[in-house]
């Protein structure tokens, strides 16, 4: 599946040289290897709690850790926020603006940190965009290609909960907001009822993605400590694997645009 969506572009001498530079960087065992862990799952699945525990544990172990959250770039987040407040986004605009925010964070936060050998924890990754956009009626293939060149995480942890649990946990603290509840597509006035309907669709999409991209599923209904121990063990196993060769294109484009300074 992944092979089918890797960007293909003409290779000239300069881009060949840059790709060679990226491959040598990936194979160099003398420097720390960048490591990307994506935390995915519906709202209320406990991702943030686990992300914080994992970060504390990594830092205690001497790792240099960078966290990036969904829709958090300094440049594009305010643009999205103002339009969400006005409820002015169509599914297409919603999708494109979130893809732009993601690309911005890839260029400014994720790729520089990985290149420098840091551990990057992504509290939601492109799969969030895919699950939500497809649940809003957009085509899977089109949305996935918006995120090219793809960066393949070393570990994707999918925090699995039922729609009922997600609804219970989210609505216990607050009312879901308009887009979180999918009210732009469900056309249901009650945000909690709309959330239940929308998150059911999102979870269906997540479960398809988990199969296609072989996520590691964490049962988010089990005890917090048990989940944390499982994540530590998974990280230990994944750390022994080399860089994914699928990531060469993304790093090569990033270097070609002068981001490494």
């Amino acid at each position: 599946m992944f092979e089918k969506v890797v960007d293909v572009k003409p290779v000239n001498a300069r881009s060949r040289a840059i790709r060679g530079q990226v491959r040598r960087h990936f194979e160099d065992r003398s420097r720390a290897r960048g490591f990307l862990v994506a935390f995915e799952g519906p709202d209320g699945s406990g991702k943030t709690t686990q992300r914080k525990l994992f970060k504390t544990w990594l830092e205690a172990g001497g790792h240099d850790v960078v966290t990036t959250k969904w829709n958090s770039s300094d440049l594009i987040k305010p643009i999205i926020k103002s339009r969400k407040t006005l409820r002015a986004l169509s599914p297409e605009e919603f999708s494109l603006l979130h893809a732009a925010d993601f690309r911005c964070r890839m260029d400014q936060v994720v790729l520089p940190a990985l290149w420098a050998g840091k551990v990057v924890i992504a509290d939601r990754f492109l799969f969030t965009g895919l699950a939500r956009d497809v649940a809003r009626g957009l085509e899977f293939d089109r949305v996935l290609k918006l995120y090219q060149p793809l960066v393949w995480p070393d570990l994707v942890l999918y925090f699995s909960v039922s729609a009922a649990t997600s609804k219970k946990r989210v609505s216990a603290m607050r009312l879901p907001n308009f887009y979180e509840a999918g009210q732009d597509v469900t056309e249901i006035d009650d945000p909690v009822e709309s959330y239940q309907r929308f998150i059911t669709r999102v979870i269906q999409e997540y479960e398809s993605l988990a199969d296609i991209f072989q996520f590691t599923t964490v049962d988010a209904e089990q005890a917090i400590g048990d989940q944390h121990r499982q994540i530590r063990a998974l990280f230990g196993e994944a750390q022994r694997r080399p860089w994914s060769r699928w990531n060469v294109d993304a790093f090569a484009e990033w270097i070609a645009q002068g981001w490494t300074g």
Partner: protein, 195 residues
């Protein structure tokens, strides 16, 4: 009574003043009640908001800028272009898709990614390419190329002149290809292939 559907005319090119002039020319031949106006880029205000952002918030790559351009185009289609067409009027989009695609190709982005990015945009009933020579003069910081090259081009060692040169080349090549009836990437026309 059924309203006859209107038309979308795409005017593409690099020089902002030339684009507007061509857009007005395109509308001039249409009777006044059927004119739907000119849809210009950044109707959604995305790029204006970016221009006001804190300089320390960083710079955007060509891919990110094109994703934003596409989001703006989706906005224009929803609020300006489709409503005019549904009311039976003719609307001119200046620029539309070709200018953005030419920019993407000029900076080395894959054609397949660009085609996918703008897949939601309907094919215009008519297309017009503004005089490419005018582009050489009109490329200030607020122009399409000026905004799209801000920041990253200096860092990557790419000059605005190079981007303009490449955009003109791609726009002209696409225009020739369309006249011949071939698709990008194919070497022979459908007629030649049949023969």
């Amino acid at each position: 009574m059924r309203v006859k559907r209107g038309r979308l005319i795409a005017v593409d090119g690099i020089d902002g003043a030339a684009l507007l002039e061509s857009a007005r020319d395109a509308l001039a031949g249409i009777s006044r009640p059927l004119r739907g106006g000119v849809s210009r880029w950044d109707a959604s205000g995305v790029f204006q908001e970016l221009a006001m952002a804190d300089g320390e918030a960083g710079i955007l790559s060509p891919r990110t800028l094109l994703l934003l351009y596409a989001a703006d185009l989706a906005f224009r289609l929803r609020w300006e272009i489709r409503p005019a067409i549904d009311e039976g009027r003719t609307i001119v989009a200046a620029p539309y898709v070709d200018t953005a695609v030419a920019f993407g190709r000029a900076v080395g982005l894959p054609s397949a990614w660009l085609a996918n990015l703008f897949r939601f945009a309907p094919t215009p009933a008519d297309r017009c390419l503004t005089d490419a020579a005018a582009a050489r003069a009109g490329c200030d910081r607020d122009s399409f190329v000026g905004v799209m090259c801000a920041g990253w081009a200096d860092r990557a060692g790419v000059t605005r002149e190079h981007v303009i040169h490449e955009m003109v080349r791609h726009l002209r090549a696409d225009q020739k290809r369309r006249r011949r009836g071939t698709r990008p990437g194919s070497r022979r026309s459908p007629t030649a292939r049949r023969g």
